[in-house]
Subunit: 247 residues, 6 copies
């Protein structure tokens, strides 16, 4: 988090719309321990239940574009809302108020782009996604729709979103905040929260509680592995029930 | 907008969560001309169509608590999102993160409280509403649920909302911003935008375009009145169609 | 159904968009017998179940604007769909494609206006409703939204619809057919079908089967009245169950 | 709960479908203390949050038929599901599988009828409601639709439901259980749980925890009353925030 | 259905929550004839229409986890509802009320597990699914969400469900009944009903009517095969229409 | 569009239900230019925004059955609505009112079948699809459900629809119009409009405006290609923003 010089914004958004130039980032070895969990989101969800934290979105609500991918990294956030100009008027005046390039500009390798957006139109097109990946984002979690599905699939860049559309966001949405608190499918996310996503869903682990969540998750992970071994070796249902694998 | 001394916040929210201490307010005589429109939201909606502005919510989406009320005043905005603590944990620790009192504290007589909130729990209880009215708010537009329906009805204080609930918001929501841009039923609202609401719905007139919208609305209003008179006096359908009442 | 001269259209829609100038209408004494049913829609729904006819919409799906009203009359139908011009473009070019005036023009006293429309904008404003009533329509059933709620309520003109909005339909919808087959909340309606509506919902009785439906309904009505008398006089639950009131 | 002779069923349902002939009922003086709470469902919802109990349904999800009514009484439960015969076939064969009369038959004065039903058709008609009231039920909470709205309104019998319909349930639903565990709008209810409902919503207080919930609720009630007095007497926002009314 | 000794429950649920220890099972050769139908669910749906039976769920409502699988077997049913303890409280007290192991314990080879569950959390995790398969279940139909999608896919065990989630059901749901009547996506299912599922959807054939349904289905199947041959050999549209393939 | 002899209908529908025997078709070289667009629906959606035309449906609303297919061809339209006979009655009487064979009968090679249908049952089965393809349709866009998913997939015939079901439409729907104006997912489509569909969604280009839309689309297409090249060659975010690729 220590840098020589402060980052500069692109000037695409008013300066005050960018809440932080740097997000809090966890030490890399902690991030690696999260990655080492066997069942990433299932175990974290269990750990967060134990600690009383709300932060999980099921895959049936926010599915991955491609099965079999998983990511772990800090959230860099963006909020888009509907604009006040009607579409055709905006298209005629060519006033593009979509601003995810400001997020791309602040990305560090390993960050995850998290967008609270609007449904129906694109909150990030294929070209923008190419830039996002080039800037270091390891994936994106988008509570909204995107454009250019073939490109997303061919890139192999992990993305969770609400679906695809051919309709541009340029004349329909306005980016109002970068690195503020956002709400993704009803879950609060702050910049720097650890995004952990796989085929089952997305967990947002609050930055301050990341280490505590990890410790509980590791204990659960060990118990699950033992139980799985017992099941595979044919232990009877009644016997499985009697054992306590969680401690 | 000129005041001797700057307002103070209550310290309930971090200072940076309060985007403006004063909202832009239109001259009172302009507000009065809006109030004088015969069909308030219908005429404004037509005027905003002509000018290419998006800003209207139908009553079937966001109904008034009581029929027959109408309000005109500048928006003072509040944004609530789900919190990260689970309900019972928050209730045990008694950490209340609901902060509409910061909005009440900034209100001037004639302002309208506009809340982007969360469904299911209360974004403003009856006691809070009593304070809101006392502080000068002439009504509220809430994209979310409220508590204490009997009190709202008995107060006769005009409110548009998504319904009522007995469930407290204290342990469920977090107020994250006062006087930032919000999204109400999919419509962008900035602090200071003119809220015009009646039984048919809610219009948010952008502050900068208020005068332009009013001029168009007044022209439409005059035409409608003429047409209504013709209908009442029995002019034939075919003849009504031929006349141009809009210019 | 016999008239001296054929009706003329207003020329607002292409001639082929108007499928019939005259709808089939039942003899008035049959209509009066429908009106005489004690529980209008409940009894008709039961009769249509017996005859295997689909044609009932619950009030929770399509509520009356005012409780306590009921209507019986033949359907004159209208179909509105979204237009291809974007709103602001249409508003600039002032190309109004809303055409319920063609329906008003064909109305006979006692008819019911039935509109398959689109949600969000108005499919018939207050002024248009005033004309509709003047032309003879005894009420309207609208699978869509309307404008000017206060006027609808003050008129006391019976209407079933999906809610109110301030937003005009002029630049948003296109009337594509008058007196064709329409679908109202998933139920097929042909011009001339008997519309019977009350606080519990709306029944569309197919024109050809109206007499058969009425005969069954009258039998059910008589049984219900007997059963109600027994309940009011305190007959025990077990005894009520043993009696057959339907034959 | 002590009775001389066991109740008899009507034989309308198989005997094993009726899980209990008598539901557990709380002492009347405890019920009276619940009734004495100033804000019935709001205070109970707060108390249940403190004790970690799930059991509240907002009024916007399950509204009262009439505003201004409130009830407190033990739940006598009924579960209806879709039947396997198609409608017209069932109507032809006259095989009525609707069985709320078995519930009516078991009612004691002061009980509340709680129905998990199916949408679209009637889970209890007006005549059945008349019998329900006669048998002692003080009201009903129905997660489904009902028939005969005018009769419900004219009876003044408190009911919470999902809306009205003219369509009979006789050929569409099957009553499969009386006095089993049901789920009402996603909330578990056991026979004997205390139903407390008003204009804001419905609380189901688990029978075993009723006294504990009441004690917490009474403490909250007292604090709220004090705070309300302070607000009415004009105490400043900043001062209201500093006081602790909950202990 | 004849067994030497009665099955024993695991004691995880109260004994009365388990409605049957043995479900009715059809003779194996009848099951094989169902399996031999070319278009499994399409033909059965047609046969059930002819006989007036409701029992089909489209795949767009309840999709298979993997395309290309099909199963035929008797339903062993389970019902889960939301519990009354709040999540964090239940997690702290470690009171797990999820009970599908009682169903696993009663399974015979060839049975199908049918779960009426709750959305959002897991009604059967991957380890539980491994046990279910080991106990003889040939697949599952779950009106709710599941956990561990990768494991389900890698097992190749046929499942129809509403989607995946990382969130445990342990602290959120309560199993209240095994082998009672359940409702799956609005369709009634009794233990022993024949579950027939493929890529197009799921049919529940009532146990008592299985043979009658099969006979009609076989006749339709034969006609469809003939018609398909005619289409493939190029018979003209007008000629195809004239032929009667159903008798 | 010039033909020697007029087409004949099959007599399955009343003659007046078929609005046009021939649809307007664009010159083949124009169709080829549409096909040559790199990003088919994305570019057309942008062009239609510039010209103020509404006509695009996102893939998350109406997904393709198979990814990676794309079609361009004129719309031949069909409208299905619910019928008035109850299912079992219709099945008993064997009165099939499904009429897409009339559309098949009018098809020319290169046409696209566009169906406004009803949800739940099949609007075109696998056998009907085989005939549709044989008659020249290059694909179908269906705002409703279909039957026989395996056959659709194995045919490799491009289809966009709302999902699959085993339930027949024969007894549930009535085809009421061929080659009239329809509404597909809220978008107006006239016979002859150019259907352009790919993995991102479906665009309906109005016949009269097809050439104008194409010219704008080609300009946008060229700019996008240039921008894509710049991104791939590593041009900085700030520099990309400064360039105007659209003129």
């Amino acid at each position: 988090m220590q840098r020589m010089t402060e980052k500069k914004t692109l000037g695409r958004l008013p300066r005050e719309a960018i809440r932080m130039l740097e997000i809090p980032r966890l030490p890399q070895d902690l991030v690696e321990q999260f990655k080492a969990l066997v069942d990433l989101t299932g175990t974290l969800s269990d750990a967060m239940d134990e600690l009383g934290i709300v932060g999980v979105i099921p895959a049936y609500v926010l599915p991955p574009v491609t099965n079999g991918t998983r990511i772990v990294g800090p959230a860099l956030t963006l909020r888009n809302i509907q604009r006040t100009a009607q579409i055709h008027k905006a298209a005629q005046e060519k006033t593009n108020t979509q601003g995810e390039s400001e997020a791309h500009n602040l990305a560090e390798p390993g960050d995850v782009l998290v967008i609270e957006g609007i449904m129906g139109c694109s909150n990030m097109g294929g070209q923008s996604a190419t830039i996002a990946r080039r800037q270091g984002f390891i994936g994106a979690v988008v509570d909204a729709t995107l454009r250019d599905p073939e490109q997303y699939r061919s890139m192999g860049w992990p993305v969770w979103c609400r679906g695809f559309t051919p309709i541009t966001g340029k004349w329909r949405m306005q980016t109002v905040e970068v690195n503020g608190k956002v709400q993704i499918c009803g879950v609060q996310v702050s910049p720097g929260d650890l995004v952990c996503a796989d085929e089952a869903g997305v967990c947002f682990v609050p930055h301050q509680q990341a280490e505590a969540v990890l410790r509980v998750a590791q204990k659960i992970d060990a118990g699950d592995t033992k139980r799985k071994k017992d099941i595979d070796s044919g232990v009877a249902v009644a016997d499985l029930m009697k054992k306590n694998y969680k401690s």
